[in-house]
């Protein structure tokens, strides 16, 4: 599909136009805080693309932390209204890949999750390629790229006051159909490649997976989990984590069945009504998270559920670095299948 160049003014006009038709979400500086977060905007002026990544990923725009599944009044229940059309502007390739993973998980695997699907169908993803990685970025190590297009409709690369626009889907191409079509220099394309060069080398995730396949009972987990405090920061900030809890809330005959994010790091997560808990120990919960990222989802949907955004590294209150965890596991777990 034809690449085009959009000037800053051109993009500003587009944003204003989109905002008239539906919701536009883009990174915005979070008040006095030193970070950006996705917020609804009506003009390009409000946005701030200066950070590599937003504090929280864009996953909440498709899978909100609190979502109404059913609303009820006087014993009658009804489904919530369909979500509105939305454009997510400035999503980084890692986060877009994460949503693509979630889409595979939520819409495949037998049943389709209608709430996620409804939002997905009404969302346009306009990505921003990364020109400079953060210290904690490692998308290239887990199969991504700072200019990756997975999950996107359109990818923008900042080429100094102008944006190189690369359509990924027809929907994306249509967005910029009216833009001029100047020749693209190779030089400009190389920006993103240069970014990729600064990133860590690929992890042999297939080898790690083979090790994890037989490494469930390995003593390495006893040491790895010690520093972990079993909070849910990593899982809630992770763009691929998808677990949820369902609860009913009711007052005076009115209420809703809602779902809220849940975390496998919480003790209560796996506890049976009888009180029996299959993952009673902190060690087993930590192991479950790592296993899920690098093995379980590979078995389930054929891919890792880590996109290398680095949020868990930045925010871990115990200073745990998943890259280090992976390195330790690869080093210590034997590759040959061992008998339990």
């Amino acid at each position: 599909m034809t690449q085009r160049v959009i000037t800053a003014d051109g993009l500003a006009k587009l944003v204003t136009e989109w905002a008239k038709k539906g919701a536009v979400y883009a990174p915005v500086k979070a008040g006095s805080k030193d970070w950006t977060e996705f917020r609804r905007v009506t003009s390009l002026k409000e946005t701030d693309f200066s950070r590599v990544n937003t504090k929280q990923s864009a996953k909440g725009l498709l899978f909100p932390q609190r979502e109404v599944m059913l609303r009820f009044k006087d014993g009658k229940s009804e489904e919530p209204a369909a979500p509105e059309e939305q454009v997510i502007l400035g999503i980084r390739p890692c986060d877009a890949a994460a949503i693509a993973f979630q889409a595979k998980f939520f819409t495949g695997q037998g049943q389709t999750d209608p709430y996620f699907k409804a939002r997905l169908d009404r969302t346009t993803f306009i990505g921003f390629a990364c020109n400079t990685p953060a210290e904690t970025c490692f998308c290239t190590a887990v199969g991504g790229s700072p200019s990756g297009t997975r999950g996107l409709d359109l990818l923008l690369t900042d080429i100094g006051g102008k944006y190189l626009a690369e359509p990924v889907t027809d929907k994306g191409a249509a967005l910029i159909a009216d833009m001029p079509d100047p020749a693209i220099g190779d030089l400009e394309r190389k920006l993103a490649e240069k970014c990729a060069e600064q990133m860590p080398q690929a992890i042999d995730t297939a080898a790690l997976k083979r090790r994890l396949d037989s490494g469930f009972e390995h003593p390495v987990w006893d040491e790895l989990n010690l520093a972990c405090v079993n909070c849910g920061a990593c899982t809630f900030l992770c763009p691929t984590c998808h677990c949820f809890d369902v609860t009913d809330e009711e007052r005076k005959g009115r209420g809703a069945r809602i779902r809220v994010w849940d975390s496998c790091q919480f003790c209560i997560y796996s506890q049976h009504a009888s009180g029996h808990n299959p993952r009673q120990t902190a060690r087993s919960r930590y192991r479950n998270r790592v296993m899920d990222k690098f093995k379980y989802t590979v078995d389930m949907v054929g891919e890792l559920s880590c996109v290398g955004c680095g949020r868990c590294i930045i925010e871990c209150p115990a200073g745990i670095d998943v890259r280090e965890t992976v390195e330790v596991l690869t080093r210590q777990l034997p590759e040959a299948a061992e008998k339990k």
Binding site: K33, D34, W35, K55, Q56, Q65, R66, E135, T136, E223, L226, A227, V229, N230, C231, G232, A233, T235, F236, L237, D245, T247, E249, I258, V260, W261, D262, S263, F266, C267, I268, Q271, A273, A282, I313, I314, E315, P317, A318, G319, I320, D321, R323, E324
Partner: protein
Amino acid sequence: MSREEALRKRARELLESKQVVMVVGHRAASTKGKAQPAFIAKPEDAESLIFDETCGQNLAGHLLKVKHLGKIAVVTKGCDSRSILVLLKEKQLDRAQLHILGVGCEGVKEDGKLSDSCITCEYPNPIVCDEMLGEPAPGDRLQTLNPKPQTGELTSDERWRELSEDVSRCIRCYACRQVCPNCYCPVCFVDASQPALVGKTTELSDNMVFHIMRALHMAGRCVECGSCARACPMGIDLMKFNRKAAQIVKERFNVVAGVKEDDAPALTVFDPNDKQEFIR
């Protein structure tokens, strides 16, 4: 000898002589400016111990995870020692099974900035320890920087709005609770499910109830180490609540958590003459 050098040397000795089975301390995390709790069981690993301005995690809580192993040595700043005292009083730790390695603390930094709790800290040196490593920190160093927590002359509505802004950012990851050395309930009130007590949503009402209740549960027990505020991924100053609770306890009951070895946690006891001006 710097505190860090003294620490490594002593840790190695203690492990080599088998006086302790483990030294709990800090090691450098992979990202700049962060440390990670370290659980050192082999003498040769003592070299990875660090002690500097990045070592903000309160290690007292981590002791609960490893106390079953045997006698543990623990690197202890002023705040860690206060938490240990609270845990000892609450019968969560056995003093005989602890070897407390005291270190003077010049304050810990977060993103290069002195942590708020360290600005107001009055106890940079351990209250209780078996030995001091290196020089104690100057006790009066922080007095000059001591801006008391601002309460201001705000109206109820203004205070509600200000706290609401903070609290509405909460994503209920419970990092604050999990890093807290003195939060160790097997089932936290927010996790209670039969029946469920606190709503699991991030609505303001649920978030506010969670944070007020947590402050209440910490009243008379919180040692103001600031771990919760530093742990919060959403940058909520959780110490606003805890500092207030500590201030209430001090003003009303004249108790400061974890600074005396022989007093009881403020809310487990009473004085028949406690002020009751708020009761009709």
